[in-house]
């Protein structure tokens, strides 16, 4: 195929195009890099909030304290009721006796505290394991509240506040990311398409002559499409590199401020998969932006 055979022609034409409009191209690439940097910061925040939540998954449970004196029949009735909840993974019953031995186990080494306690004042309770999605969508509180209404349950406890705050944050970061991301992607599309428009205008004579000697639109447009793809890819690559520097610097400062404390707080960078997706999306964005301009200013005025 002609396009394959002429790949070096298209690449050199594209490179010449960039070189002849170097200033504009550099400005475009930097603008795209900054825009993408903002977007990438969201990716990193999202990923980290998500990672923290993931760490919580499986560990989040609701403890439902039972009223004193509930019969074992009542307990199994409550258990049966809870198992019907779609958001509940499992339920485990701890009798008053179990509660005491658990308590003892937790206080191991300090058992002396209990030496004066003659009567078991600890209530029996149910440990309710919730599904991961409850944590993700931030409805642990709602679930807990609904358990509170069940006959025989005296009180409900869970990691109040903390999980919700993180879920909320996750949702917020997600929404912000989508909003700002959409806006930034659109802005990049406009920027690329505008730069390619300028590039097309600066090579009007050449395009006219190419048409005259029978070049297909594809042949004429391809260098501009490549130029658009190259611009966004360079901008995105630059933004990822910048982000990595910011990330290293941030870690370094954290380390200095908090010392070894922070070693446990594992802050992660974008995953390889995410970087790959970003680059593919960037290439597509550049293609579309250039394609729009090529359509308007090369294909249109035949």
């Amino acid at each position: 195929m002609l396009i394959i055979k002429r790949i070096s022609y298209f690449m050199t034409t594209m490179a010449k195009g960039i070189a002849s409009n170097l200033y504009l191209n550099v400005v475009t690439i930097i603008t795209i890099a900054v825009a993408f940097l903002i977007l990438n910061i969201f990716f990193v925040i999202y990923r980290n909030v998500n990672a923290v939540l993931e760490g919580w998954q499986g560990r989040i449970k609701i403890i439902a304290y039972l009223q004193d004196g509930v019969s074992s029949q009542q307990v199994s009735a409550i258990e049966g009721q809870l198992k019907k909840y779609g958001n509940i993974k499992g339920v485990r019953f701890y009798s008053k006796q179990d509660a005491l031995s658990e308590f003892r186990r937790e206080l191991k080494g300090q058992a002396a505290i209990l030496s004066g306690v003659s009567q078991n004042i600890l209530p029996a309770y149910l440990v309710v394991m919730v599904r991961d999605r409850v944590i993700r969508n931030g409805t642990v509180g709602k679930l807990a509240d609904s358990l509170r209404g069940i006959q025989g349950i005296a009180d409900v406890q869970y990691g109040q506040g903390v999980t919700e705050r993180f879920s909320e944050m996750l949702v917020m970061v997600k929404m912000l990311g989508i909003g700002i991301g959409g806006f930034i992607l659109f802005a990049i599309l406009i920027i690329v398409s505008n730069t390619i428009r300028m590039s097309i205008f600066s090579r009007k004579d050449e395009i006219e002559i190419l048409k005259l000697v029978g070049a297909t639109n594809m042949f004429i447009e391809l260098p501009f499409l490549l130029e658009g793809v190259t611009q966004v890819l360079c901008g995105t690559g630059l933004s990822i590199a910048l982000l990595y520097l910011v990330y290293r610097f941030f870690l370094y400062r954290l380390h200095h401020a908090f010392g070894s404390l922070i070693v446990n707080a594992h802050i992660v960078f974008l995953s390889g998969g995410t970087i790959g997706t970003i680059l593919v999306a960037a290439a597509m964005l550049g293609f579309v932006g250039a394609f729009v301009s090529a359509g308007k200013f090369i294909r249109h005025n035949d």
Binding site: L2, K5, R6, Y9, D205, E206, E208, I209, L210, K211, L212, V213, G214, A215, T216, N217, F219, D302
Partner: protein, 219 residues
């Protein structure tokens, strides 16, 4: 062969550029199109190389009805038509060689073949020793010869020229006309638009005279 049947051309702004033009240029013919400024000579040529579409009427070039042609087919038809202009339309950031090679690059000819063909073509127009020059270093006549080489290098069936000698002095004009005659002898249809009556009178060729967008009967 070029055939026009009751062709009209109206530009969006202004009056009719061409009105009811019917004509036929046979394969291998050499024809002049003449007439005063604004008569429609350039417009007529533009219709022939598909730079403009007629408002009304039919145009058939090499057997293709161009008014029914798909847009995507236009480049392929153009490869059979060489065009030369008064202002040369060269790329000044490329060498003479690259300018001529353009016609062959776009049809995907292998580099080796391009090299050979361009060299032969430049030899024909007498510029083979300047193939690595920028057109900026050439005289007007030489530049026009480069543009003629570009138009002819892929051996088109038709050569169209719009005031090709408009910027050239007498001697250079004759050089250029000689090239046209040579290629015509080899079978290429040649149509030259010019308002230069003295040029036309030098050659006993068919003359199509336009006035106000209409063909004048021969006196």
């Amino acid at each position: 062969m070029i055939q026009l049947f009751h062709v009209y051309k109206h530009y969006l702004k202004g009056s009719a550029a061409l009105e009811d033009i019917s004509l036929q240029v046979e394969k291998g013919e050499f024809a002049f199109i003449t007439g005063p400024s604004g008569a429609g000579k350039s417009t007529l040529l533009k219709l022939m190389f598909l730079a403009e579409m007629p408002t009304k009427g039919q145009i058939i070039i090499n057997g293709y009805n161009i008014t029914r042609l798909k847009r995507s087919a236009v480049p392929f038809l153009r490869r059979n038509i060489g065009v030369v202009f008064q202002d040369f339309k060269l790329l000044y950031d490329r060498t003479v060689f690259d300018n001529v090679a353009l016609s062959l690059s776009v049809i995907g000819m292998p580099k080796k073949e391009i090299k050979k063909k361009v060299w032969e073509m430049l030899k024909l127009v007498g510029l083979q020793h300047k193939l690595n020059f920028s057109p900026l270093r050439l005289s007007g006549g030489e530049q026009q010869r480069v543009s003629i080489a570009r138009a002819l290098v892929n051996e088109p069936a038709i050569l169209l020229a719009d005031e090709p000698t408009g910027n050239l002095d007498q001697d250079l004009t004759l050089d250029v006309m000689k090239l046209f005659e040579d290629v015509n002898i080899k079978g290429t249809t040649v149509v030259v638009a010019t308002h230069d009556k003295s040029l036309i009178s030098r050659y006993s060729r068919r003359v199509i005279t336009l006035e106000h967008g209409r063909i004048m009967e021969k006196q």
